[in-house]
Amino acid sequence: MSIEFKQITTIAQKEFWDRIRNRWVLAVTAIFIFFALVIAYFGASQEGVVGFSSIELTIASLVSLAIYLVPLIALILGYDAIVGERERGSLDLLLALPVTRLELLLGKYLGLSTALTFSIVTGFGLVGLFLSYQINLGALGHYAGFMVSTILMGMAFLSLSFLISVFATNKTIASGTAIALWFFYVLVYDLILLGVLVVTEGQLGGDFFPFLLLLNPADIFRILNIFSLEQVKTLYGLATVFPESLANPWLLSGSILFWIVAPLGVAYWKFK
């Protein structure tokens, strides 16, 4: 079945402007700015100092912030995209129009990911401007890399939220699953990996174990950012844990793109 781009952009525009009108974009941008400034200022307090420290440490702190905040916001943004329409009863109205299910899914995804991207770029961008007095050209690249990877991580979790939204039979189940997924990927997944490593004293898994991190978009985001920052790598002592092959930016980018495309693809298969 053919795809009409106009149908996708019409739906995307509505979704985006809905999030502007209901102040979702404003609220999320404000949350990003507030937490980013707090983290940037107090991020080095573990070392006994406060204030804006080096850009690398600031980015490392922002990475920790984004890893908690962005997946949660993306999952909350998208969990009711389809199930909400179905439960409200407006889905039939849309599907009786000359619109395919793929166009509807892609339109909604495009609109919501634009809203999320807009908030990330505005929120973290303004903080970046605020910190610009200490950003040299190299650091600017790192900061831009952080923002791009944050957007990609957000899009991956948004894609997962669409998967939930298509499979869930009602909004309550969808929201519960979204929160459970956030707990799993952001709080539990690394603990399980670490736990298995500790319990088996490193016997299980061996070389492939670090690659299991690629099964978690939040971990891919962490690795993407940490490997790009020499100072942070030393600070985290991670260089000794991860094999160099994992630091291949193509592998990492490919993995995060997989996490954007695959859940959306499965969602479409089910929705169809």
Binding site: M1, R21, P98
Partner: protein
């Protein structure tokens, strides 16, 4: 012979053990007002959704204007269809005008017609108000307006008068008539039989997923041959002469209540009885009532139920 604009062939849809639509066959003619009637749960909405391509049938075929509803030309088919779902729901935060513009641009309609459609629906003053502030009747009228986006050739209206007040219902049927005059084909479902019986060209009676019969109200009356009801106003002194006159009609059921007499008789005896009553002394008024659509519906439902009963005799 009019062109069949919609053809439904042997369409069946199951939900687990429940047969929602059972081998349905329909041919809907261009330019007619066609109604699916039946109790709630008879399968009307499911058949509607299958005709619109919103549900995939388990088996069978649907053709709209000679094209498969979900085939390669589905966009072309859907641009010519307007649909008002049962209990239509909109986006509460959008205004009436924004709603029409959004749906209209997806339909490829001329967005310049949105205000005229709102005006026709009596919603122009509320055009810029969010839909959340609309009453149920206003939402229903907005639903009807959106179904007319892009000048469709076929309208599917699922329980279209839900939430409308009596004046709104009358306006709605007036609009349907105007649209019919313009050549539009209209398919509507309803369980309010009294409301539609004089306003539709043909009806299909549905029960438990099956189409029991299809025809005009008159055809169905003849098919089922339900008795006619005579309401007779009688002078108090004329009861005996009436009883003598009715002795010629032993098959008629008579019920006398003071001055009012109701007589139930077959269609065949209509003229003979009328002649007799007209010449009987003391008859002050006669009113003949055809069986209503509701009577027909109940008659068919009873008939189909009794034919489905296992023939067990003790």
């Amino acid at each position: 012979m009019k062109e069949n604009i919609i053809k439904v062939r042997q369409v069946t849809k199951r939900y687990g053990d429940i047969l929602a639509v059972d081998s349905a066959n329909l041919s809907i003619q261009k330019g007619e007002i066609f109604s699916l009637i039946g109790h709630n749960g008879a399968g009307k909405s499911t058949l509607f959704k299958i005709m619109l391509g919103l549900l995939q049938p388990g088996s069978g075929e649907i053709g709209i204007q000679g094209k498969a509803v979900n085939g390669k030309q589905f966009r072309q088919v859907r641009r010519h269809i307007g649909y008002l779902p049962e209990n239509v729901v909109f986006y509460d935060h959008l205004s009436g005008l924004e709603t029409l513009r959004f749906l209209g641009s997806l339909k490829g309609a001329d967005l310049g017609t949105c205000e005229a459609l709102l005006d026709k629906a009596g919603l122009l003053k509320a055009a810029h108000r969010p839909v959340r502030g609309y009453s149920k009747g206003m939402r229903q009228r907005l639903g009807f307006a959106q179904a007319l986006l892009g000048k469709p050739e076929i309208l599917f209206l699922d329980e279209p008068t839900t939430g409308l007040d009596p004046a709104g219902i009358r306006e709605f049927y007036q609009s349907l008539n105007e649209l019919k005059q313009q050549g539009m084909t209209i398919i509507l479902s309803s369980h309010n039989l009294a409301q539609i019986q004089e306003k539709v060209d043909r009806i299909a009676l549905m029960k438990l997923g099956s189409i029991l019969t299809v025809g005009t109200v008159q055809e169905l009356r003849e098919q089922l041959d339900l008795p006619l009801q005579f309401q007779v106003a009688l002078h108090p002194s004329a009861e005996n002469s009436l009883r003598r006159a009715l002795a010629e009609f032993p098959d008629c059921e008579t019920h006398i209540d003071g001055n009012m007499v109701s007589i139930s008789c077959s269609r065949e005896q209509k003229m003979a009885l009328l002649t007799t009553l007209a010449t009987t002394e003391g008859i002050e008024d006669i009113h003949i009532q055809e069986p209503s659509l509701e009577d027909l519906f109940l008659g068919y439902v009873d008939e189909s139920t009794s034919s489905q009963q296992p023939a067990v005799q003790n």
